[in-house]
């Protein structure tokens, strides 16, 4: 039996190759995603170890377990002295300052000033230091930056050095003076040198921008000084890096240092209470500061965790798309097996007549599937490896990841690829194999023979009940809004899956009517060939349905994403139309990665301008966001801050009760606005005083001033900027809105604003319309990425149509020969095959788009109304998708149509 199976495969190489190709593509995608993410994980792990081992110990402020580490406060500079002088065993010490979104500005080739941008990589502002083993910056050209004078003085031009890559990419010239946009605003600095990061020979900061300043200058410019009014200011550092003397025991040094610093913290707390109130306010974010000493292993672990979080998301997304591709190929394998076995009934019956048991015949089919699965998985793995090599180069070329070592081949990759590749092939052959069992030996002698398919009535019952279960699940997920995200998503996905299964089972029933409907105009235009195309498409409903199903899956997902995205657009559009009265928006110019903050100098400047020109500008409001920025009942919440006194003039958050700009009562640390949903769940009402902890540690008693309905704009929790100033001083302005005076001259007002923002070339000033367009463009980008990832599934689906058509052409050889004999031209024959493919593809497209819209609407309805409140169907995209389906049909038909038209008439007529 095994030899016979091998023969069968080798005799029908092309047919099996086509089948296997679908599996190969699926497995290749799957393994590529494994290879690449393993590669990234490895290189990030290496990098983490490397960075972690730069120093032996780090002194820094502690951050609670679940809090966002980006809200870590710096440590007072006095600690440097304690570390340097009071503990034995320490060899070198370096104070370290690192700020984000520090962007040097240069003049580009068009003569415009432009801020340095990166693709996702951070833009650091740091302090330059040389400290033995701890040194991270190595001068390439020029010299280190030096102290010139206090840079808060406008007339003082400080010095800075820039990483060589950023400098050469943007034509920075040593000796020239450049504006640098940082957390405390824009200042001019002279470039005195270029540096390599982390190695004297090579800049290892691929992709990132590093601007380094003399330490005291950095403290001022990067906002590491705490102003104490009449008492001057306290300087701080983000971290203190320590190299331990050779022979000294690191844990011992760590412990004695920790004890010493605990003492300092206690001292700090008791001193704090003795301070005048004004000073206490400035120091609020340090009240319960805990200073910790951590070793290099901890740092390495933290970095690895951060990276792996990011990589896990990436790999899960890739995996999901790969699995969709594999599912699509499973449909194609199943269909091909059914068709091929149908064509081989006579041969199998002959085997039965010669004495093979029905079991042996079925087993031979499964064996074929296993062999194909093994072959396809192996080829897919190899292909995936090749793709991953290409992908790695692509990533490196855009400055993402570093080229050390080769792609890791994990046994997990091979096992998963093999299990999924072989599993999908074998599973999809079980149905056809079972039907093969019922072949009677006598069928070898019959003229017309074929496999007995599952009865339509059984399909009808199964289809209707599965679809009903799916619909019920969808309805529950839409209307039960007190569910958590996970069960709701499960219901939604399960419902969608069941609906798809039901529709798939039912679709053969709809094939003929839909094929007739679609075929009518085609017949009108293309006469007889069109007519025959229509008839052929409706001729074998199961085959057509199964072929179309592959396309249905991809298009359903694309349409679903399109509906969700369009609903988001509609929601944003409606919000802008009805809730926003501000005229201009300012934010950092997009690109990849999270938006970057900017100095609050800008809103101050704009507010002064508004005061001086009330006839032009009414006011400017800034917005900041802290993800997991505070806890309410020990639960981390995303929180926004803004200028509550002015907010209601710029936007309408649909206040349900209370007031937006109420004063905090005596004894309260500020006011809080919250959305009606969390208000209801927490049983909060206006006037309540609740205890929150900013950064998970800094307690504040906030008074609930108002409860609102529209969470689209600012999220669920909103406080005043002054509260952030006090408790989360590290957060920067992310967004500004500007309101014109009612009597303004728009052009003049815009000119006024842009004159101020020109200093910040990284910022975009947008009108309501422009803002809306840029958000829509971002959503379109996401949709494009999703579509590209689904592209492989669509490609496999096209392959499936080609495969089915080729098999049908083979089956119909005699019929085609007859048509040619009695006068059908080659062109007419190509037309006939092509339009059959278009009908099949459109059938799949229509089912896919219809289900996609349904799922999209269900998903939109299930998503929290604070994110999406409007339902919208993107009619234009839907029409596009259908047009694309038709084009897929035409493309899929190219080869089969060519083959059909090239049949030799005489051979075809006598074909058996």
């Amino acid at each position: 039996m095994f030899r016979l199976t091998l023969r069968n495969i080798s005799r029908r190489k092309l047919r099996y190759a086509l089948t296997a190709f679908a599996v190969v593509l699926g497995v290749a995608f799957l393994s590529t995603s494994f290879f690449l993410t393993d590669r990234l994980r490895d290189s990030f792990d290496e990098l983490s170890v490397e960075i972690g081992s730069d120093q032996d110990l780090i002194v820094r402020a502690a951050v609670p377990q679940d809090a966002d580490r980006s809200i870590r406060v710096p440590v007072p500079e006095q600690i440097l002295e304690i570390v340097t002088t009071e503990v034995p065993g320490i060899k070198t010490v370096a104070p370290f300052i690192r700020a984000f979104s520090v962007q040097p500005v240069f003049i580009n080739s068009k003569g415009e000033s432009e801020a340095v941008t990166t693709i996702g990589a951070p833009q650091f502002g740091v302090n330059y230091y040389e400290a033995g083993q701890l040194t991270q910056y190595f001068i390439v050209e020029g010299r280190p930056p030096e102290w010139i004078g206090p840079v808060e003085d406008e007339s003082v031009i400080g010095e800075f050095v820039l990483d060589v890559d950023t400098a050469s990419d943007n034509d920075f010239v040593i000796g020239n003076t450049y504006q640098i946009s940082g957390p405390s605003g824009n200042k001019a600095f002279e470039l005195v040198g270029t540096i390599n990061w982390r190695s004297p020979d090579e800049n290892k900061a691929t992709g990132a921008t590093i601007s380094a300043f003399e330490t005291e200058t950095a403290q001022t410019f990067l906002n590491r000084n705490i102003p104490l009014g009449d008492f001057g200011e306290i300087g701080t550092f983000d971290e203190i890096l320590i190299e331990v003397e050779e022979g000294a025991d690191i844990p011992t040094v760590q412990n004695s240092l920790q004890t010493l610093l605990d003492g300092f913290t206690d001292q700090f707390a008791s001193n704090f209470l003795a301070l005048p109130e004004k000073q206490q306010d400035a120091l609020t974010s340090y009240i319960d500061i805990q200073i910790e000493v951590v070793d290099s292993e901890t740092i390495t672990q933290e970095n690895q965790d951060d990276f792996s979080q990011f990589i896990n998301i990436l790999s899960n997304v890739l995996l999901a798309f790969a699995i969709i591709a594999v599912i699509v190929s499973a449909f194609i394998i199943n269909n091909t097996f059914s068709i091929v076995l149908g064509q081989r009934v006579k041969e199998l019956a002959l085997l039965r007549a010669l004495g093979a048991t029905s079991r042996q015949v079925a087993q031979s089919v499964i064996l074929e599937a296993i062999l194909i699965g093994v072959f396809a998985s192996a080829v897919g793995l190899a292909g995936g490896y090749a793709l991953a090599l290409g992908g790695q180069e692509l990533l490196e070329s855009v400055g993402f990841g570093r080229s050390t070592g080769s792609l890791p081949i994990r046994s997990r990759t091979i096992i998963v690829a093999a299990v999924i590749g072989i599993g999908a092939t074998v599973l999809s052959s079980i149905g056809p194999a079972n039907r093969v069992r019922s072949i009677a030996p006598v069928e070898a002698l019959r003229d017309q023979s074929g496999l007995t398919p599952t009865s339509l009535s059984r399909r009808l019952i199964g289809g209707v009940s599965t679809a009903l279960v799916g619909a019920v699940m969808l309805i529950i997920s839409i209307f039960k809004d007190d569910l958590n995200t996970a069960p709701q998503l499960t219901l939604l996905a399960g419902g969608a899956l069941a609906t798809f299964g039901g529709v798939y089972l039912l679709s053969p029933v709809a094939t003929r009517p839909i094929a007739n409907l679609l075929g009518r105009p085609i017949q009108k235009i293309f006469k007889m060939p069109g007519r025959l195309a229509k008839e052929n498409a409706g001729r074998r409903p199961r085959r057509t349905a199964a072929t179309a199903a592959a396309l249905t899956i991809g298009l359903a997902l694309v349409s679903m994403a399109a509906v969700v995205s369009d609903s988001l657009k509609a929601t944003i559009g409606k919000t802008l139309d009805t809730s926003i009265s501000a005229d201009l928006f300012i934010s950092s110019e997009g690109g990849f990665g999270p938006p970057t903050g900017f100095s609050s100098d800008l809103v101050v400047d704009l507010s002064i301008a508004a005061e001086e020109n009330p006839e032009l500008i009414d006011s400017a409001v800034s917005y900041r966001f802290a993800f997991a920025g505070m806890t309410v009942a020990d639960d981390y919440k995303d929180v926004a801050s803004t200028d509550l006194a002015l907010l209601s003039r710029h936007m309408d958050i649909d206040l349900a009760e209370g007031s937006i700009n109420a004063q905090a009562p005596e004894g309260s640390d500020g006011t809080l606005l919250l959305h009606s949903d969390p208000a209801e769940t927490n049983n909060f009402s206006v006037g309540d005083q609740i205890l929150v902890k900013f950064g998970g540690t800094r307690e504040a008693n906030l008074t609930i001033a108002g409860i609102y309905h529209n969470a689209t704009l600012l999220g669920n929790w909103v406080v005043d900027n002054s509260t952030f100033d006090k408790y989360l001083p590290q957060t920067q302005d992310f967004f500004l809105s500007i309101l014109y005076s009612p009597t303004t001259n728009t052009d003049e007002a815009l000119g006024f604003v842009t004159a101020l923002t020109d200093e910040y070339p990284q910022l975009a000033v947008e009108s309501q319309r422009e803002y809306r367009e840029s958000i829509e463009a971002q959503l379109d980008q996401v949709l494009t990425i999703i579509t590209v990832f689904l592209g492989l599934s669509l490609l496999i689906a096209v392959l499936g149509i080609t495969n089915t058509l080729a098999l049908s052409v083979y089956e119909q050889t005699r019929e085609l020969g007859l048509l040619r004999a009695i006068g059908m031209t080659r062109r007419q024959m190509r037309r006939m095959v092509r339009w059959e493919a278009v009908i099949v593809a459109l059938f799949g497209g229509i089912l896919g788009v219809a289900m996609g819209i349904l799922f999209g609407l269900a998903a939109t309805a299930a998503i929290d109304t604070s994110i999406v409140s409007e339902l919208s169907i993107p009619v234009k995209s839907v029409i596009q998708y259908l047009a694309i389906s038709a084009i897929f049909g035409i493309v899929a038909a190219i080869l089969p149509a060519y083959r059909a038209s090239r049949l030799k008439v005489l051979d075809a007529i006598s074909h058996n």
């Binding site: 005699r814 004999a821 009695i822 006068g823 031209t825 007419q828 007529i909």
Partner: protein, 245 residues
């Protein structure tokens, strides 16, 4: 050679060679033949005698290695695939042994298929005449799988006639039928010649079938070896016996 324009089709020095060198087979070896308009010719001969090849080469389904074949006075040599296809569609009718009809079209649609492919209007008078002669009546709206073998072959013959071709080729048209229904089909073919003045060439094994023809050509080893005019089936039988022997 006589260049009579009365011939619906003819072959001049037709030779057909399959294969090369050792495996070379001469299927037709210098054949000269004419098919007169309104004449019913049967071609007979043992398997491998070249009778089917002759028919295929006259009908534009295959090409001669050397020599020339004509439909009316048009040479088939050097025609492109498209020209040959159009020639078959407009000038030639075909009836095969089996699988003559497109299963997705009903009898009437199958009947008019050559005209539909040509995008031509059906001549209603002629159409009526043909339909009446098929004698299928209300079964014309049925699909082939709902018709008997005899009915299917009659539809096939009618289809061959419907475009008023210069010549109809029938390849063992009764080979798959029992003798009664086979007779009906032969009757129908005969009446097409007598009533409609149709030129007809039929390849057959069956002496009884061949006896309906106006003349019978006998082929052996790619050559026409004998020609009988309106023979009886006994004469044909005897001739075949002698050829075999």
């Amino acid at each position: 050679m006589n260049t009579s324009s009365n011939a619906a089709a003819r072959v001049v020095n037709g030779t057909k060679i399959y294969g090369e060198g050792e495996t070379e087979v001469k299927a037709l070896d210098g054949v000269n033949v004419e098919f007169q308009t309104g004449e019913f010719t049967a071609i007979m001969g043992p398997s491998g005698s070249g009778k089917s090849t002759l028919m295929h080469c006259v009908a534009g389904l295959d090409t001669l290695t050397t020599g020339q074949s004509f439909i009316n006075d048009a040479s088939l040599n050097d025609l492109s695939d498209r020209e040959l296809t159009l020639l078959r569609r407009d000038k030639i009718g075909f009836v095969f042994q089996a699988f003559n009809l497109i299963p997705t079209l009903n009898a009437r649609e199958n009947l008019t298929l050559p005209l539909d492919l040509a995008g031509q209007k059906v001549d209603p008078i002629w159409m009526n005449k043909v339909i009446t002669s098929v004698g299928l009546g209300d079964r014309l709206d049925h699909r082939p799988d709902e018709l008997s073998g005899g009915q299917q072959q009659r539809v096939a013959v009618a289809r061959a006639l419907v475009s008023q071709p210069a010549i109809v080729f029938a390849d063992e048209p009764t080979g798959n039928l029992d003798s009664i229904t086979g007779n009906e089909v032969l009757e129908f073919l005969r009446s097409a010649v007598d009533d409609l003045n149709q030129t007809l060439v039929m390849v057959t094994h069956d002496a009884a079938a061949a006896s309906r023809a106006d003349r019978v050509l006998f082929l052996a080893d790619g050559k026409i070896v004998k020609e009988l005019s309106a023979p009886s089936s006994e004469e044909i039988f005897d001739t075949l016996k002698r050829l075999d022997g």
